[in-house]
C-alpha cells in the first residue's frame, strides 16, 4: 500500500516537473522517466502487455523522437521561452483541467464492480484463433481492422514528415550527417548492441502469440536498433526514393489488406479467418507488418530528408 502511494506521488511529481522544466533537455529526460514509471504502474496493476508497450513505445521511441525534435528546436529555444500565453487562455486551460480532474475523481469511485467486460467471451473463443495470448487475439483477430488502420495511419504520418523536406532534398537521405569515428567506443558498442537488439526484437515479436509481446513492440525495438546503428555511423540511411524501401513500407498494410479481402471468400466477412488456418494467416500477416512498421518507425525517427540522394 505504501509502495502504491509512493509510486503514484512519484508519477505526479515527475509529470509536474516535466511541464515546469524550463530547459528542453531536462523536460525530455523527465518525460522518459515518466514513461518508465508508467511501465512500473502497469506492472503493479498486473497488465504486463500494456507495460511492455509503454516501455517500448512510450519510453524508448517517444524519447528518441523528442530528443530529435528538441535538437532541431535548439536555435529558437531562447526566443520561444520568452513567449507566455495571456491571462485568458491560461485561466481557460486551468478551468478545463480542473473540471476534467474533478469529473474523474467523482466518477472513478462509483464505477460498477465488477466492471462490464467482454474478457470472458474473448478468452472463451481463444482456441479458435490459435493464439494463447488474449491481448494479441484482440489485436490480430477480434479487432484486426483497428490494427490494419493503425499501420495505414503510420504510413500517412511518414508521408507528412517527408513533406517537410525542402524541394531540392526530396527523395534524399534522411537525417543529418553523423560524424562518427570508426574506432570509437560508440562504434564498438553498437557492433555488440545491434545483433543483441535484433535478437531481442525478433524474440519479442515471436512470443506475442503466447505471452506479452507482438509486432508493434518487436518493430519498435528493430527501429531503435537501426537508429542506433545509424548514430554510430555503421549504416547510412537509404535515400527515401529507393524502390525497395518503399515496397518494404507498404508490404505490411498491403498483405494485411489482401488477406482481409480474401476473408470475404473464405470465411464470409472482411478480415475473417477460416478457423483451420487462423494461426497461419495471422503469422503471414504479422511478418511483413513487423518489417513495415520497423521501417516506418525508423524513418519517422530519422526525420525528413536533409541531404540530397547520392
Amino acid at each position: 500500500m505504501v509502495f502504491d502511494i509512493g509510486l503514484a506521488v512519484l508519477v505526479v511529481a515527475v509529470a509536474a516537473w516535466t511541464i515546469a522544466a524550463r530547459d528542453v533537455f531536462a523536460a525530455v529526460v523527465s518525460f522518459v522517466a515518466y514513461g518508465l514509471l508508467l511501465a512500473l504502474v502497469w506492472v503493479r496493476l498486473a497488465a504486463p502487455d500494456v507495460a511492455l508497450t509503454e516501455a517500448a513505445i512510450g519510453g524508448g521511441l517517444t524519447g528518441g523522437l523528442l530528443i530529435g525534435a528538441s535538437s532541431r528546436l535548439r536555435g529558437i529555444e531562447a526566443p520561444a521561452a520568452n513567449e507566455k500565453p495571456g491571462r485568458g487562455p491560461w485561466l481557460a486551460a486551468a478551468l478545463l483541467c480542473s473540471l476534467v480532474s474533478i469529473g474523474l475523481a467523482m466518477i472513478v469511485p462509483v464505477l460498477p464492480e465488477p466492471s462490464p467486460t467482454l474478457a470472458s467471451q474473448a478468452a472463451a473463443n481463444l482456441a479458435a484463433t490459435g493464439l494463447s495470448n488474449p491481448v494479441t487475439a484482440v489485436l490480430m483477430a477480434y479487432r484486426a481492422i483497428d490494427t490494419l488502420l493503425e499501420t495505414v495511419v503510420l504510413l500517412l504520418a511518414l508521408l507528412a514528415v517527408w513533406s517537410l523536406a525542402p524541394d531540392r532534398f526530396w527523395g534524399g537521405l534522411p537525417g543529418r550527417r553523423q560524424n562518427a569515428d570508426p574506432e570509437s567506443v560508440l562504434t564498438f558498442a553498437a557492433q555488440l548492441l545491434v545483433p543483441m537488439g535484433i535478437l531481442i526484437g525478433i524474440h519479442i515479436f515471436w512470443i506475442g502469440s503466447v505471452a506479452p509481446g507482438g509486432e508493434f513492440q518487436g518493430a519498435t525495438i528493430l527501429a531503435a536498433v537501426w537508429i542506433l546503428a545509424a548514430m554510430a555511423g555503421l549504416v547510412e540511411g537509404p535515400p527515401v526514393s529507393r524502390q525497395w524501401l518503399r515496397l518494404m513500407l507498404v508490404a505490411g498494410p498491403a498483405v494485411f489488406f489482401m488477406i482481409g479481402l480474401a476473408g470475404f471468400a473464405t470465411a464470409g466477412a472482411f478480415l475473417a479467418y477460416p478457423e483451420a488456418h487462423a494461426k497461419l494467416l495471422i503469422l503471414i500477416i504479422e511478418v511483413p507488418v513487423t518489417l513495415s512498421i520497423a521501417a516506418t518507425l525508423a524513418l519517422l525517427l530519422a526525420g525528413p530528408p536533409e541531404r540530397g540522394p547520392q
Binding site: 560524424n179 562518427a180 569515428d181 570509437s184 567506443v185 560508440l186 564498438f188 558498442a189 555488440l192 548492441l193 543483441m196
Partner: protein, 97 residues
C-alpha cells in the same frame, strides 16, 4: 531448500539496494562530474548485478535465468558506452567524437 534460496535472495537484494544507495549519494554529493560518474558506475554494475543475482535464486527455468543475466549484461554494455561518452563531454573543453 527454498528457505536457503529465499535467504540468499534477501541478502543479495539488500546488498544491491545498498549499492544503489551509495551510487545515488555519490551522484548527489560528489563535487565534480567525473567523480559523480565514478559513483554512478558502481550503482550500475554492482547494484543491478546483485539484484539480478538475488532474483536468479527465485526464478525457475534456464531461459528465464539467461534472460535475467542478459538484462544485466546489456545494462553493463550500455553503461560503459555512455560513461565514456559522458566523460568525454564532461572533460574541460569536451572533445568531439
Amino acid at each position: 531448500m527454498s528457505l536457503a534460496l529465499n535467504l540468499l535472495t534477501v541478502l543479495a537484494v539488500c546488498a544491491g539496494a545498498f549499492f544503489f544507495l551509495a551510487g545515488t549519494a555519490g551522484l548527489l554529493r560528489f563535487p565534480d562530474p567525473l567523480s559523480r560518474l565514478h559513483a554512478l558506475t558502481k550503482a550500475d554494475n554492482l547494484g543491478l548485478g546483485l539484484v539480478v543475482l538475488g532474483l536468479l535464486f527465485q526464478v525457475d527455468g534456464l531461459l528465464a535465468g539467461l534472460k535475467l543475466i542478459s538484462v544485466w549484461l546489456l545494462a553493463l554494455l550500455a553503461g560503459a558506452t555512455v560513461t565514456q561518452l559522458i566523460a568525454r563531454a564532461a572533460r574541460p573543453g569536451g572533445t568531439p567524437e
